[in-house]
Symmetry: C2
Subunit: 131 residues, 2 copies
DNA sequence: GTACGTGCAAATATTTTGCAGCAGT
DNA sequence: ACTGCTGCAAAATATTTGCACGTAC
């Protein structure tokens, strides 16, 4: 009586959602992705987009971000990296600084728990908004 | 024609909401705060709780956290500190490691923007859930 | 007295879900 | 063929807001 793990199929919808996320530099919302995918699959529903985003996240193909707002944004870049959030225009950008994995050790020691990963976001005004 | 800044009054409701947040060690949701405050002000509305949480946040008296879920949590501790989020039980705890303000300089250099602050959360399994 | 705050209820916004038919493996 | 996936629409969740009255300053 072993648990059979759920098998994921690669449907046209799922593939296109993944492609859209891998191709964009931005960190789009579910609705933005929906509108984009609709150009190729006009009858796709928003529910399907949400269901696929959840599966893709579970499979580790994408990341979900929910910083500073009531809705989520998604990131097709799964390599560890940090983000910069502009407090003015709300834009989120990738930051190319080395990832400090040693931090996890300190945190694990401090809490007595096991640290899997960490997330770091910088908040401020982006170069475009400074003038 | 100067802009007159909004003046905030300290009402009974606002004071109690702030007190509740300053007293707790947890990082409660708006609804938890609502239930707690209701013990002292039975007729308070959830709308009032949300309005006050926004004002208190704007005044810098509390922090809003929205990590890994669709709803916000609030933190009465405004001193810079990091968080640990348990992927099993969902609990959020404070971490007592020094805050690395130098990180902000690197990020500002990399983006060309101005960094005000950063947030760092560690994700893993807390000591209570490890067994 | 002024204008910010409150309670109430309705509205928004975002995400999830039940269901019957469709489709990937 | 089996079972996961889809579109559709309705539901669930979390948060915001219009309004008339109340209250801190």
């Amino acid at each position: 009586m072993t648990i059979t793990p759920r098998i994921h199929r690669m449907t046209k919808q799922r593939q296109i959602i993944l492609d859209v996320l891998k191709k964009t530099e931005s960190h789009p919302t579910a609705d933005w992705i929906y509108e984009k995918v609709r150009q190729e699959v006009p009858r796709i529903s928003l529910g399907t987009v949400y269901r696929n985003l959840r599966v893709l996240k579970e499979m580790g193909d994408i990341q979900e971000l929910n910083y500073g707002s009531t809705y989520s944004r998604f990131d097709g870049n799964t390599k560890p990296h940090y983000h910069f959030v502009c407090l003015d225009c709300g834009d989120i950008m990738d930051i190319h600084v080395p990832v400090y994995t040693e931090l996890d050790k300190d945190a694990a020691e401090e809490t007595g728990g096991k640290v899997e990963f960490h997330r770091l976001e910088f908040y401020g005004i982006c170069s475009g908004c400074i003038q």
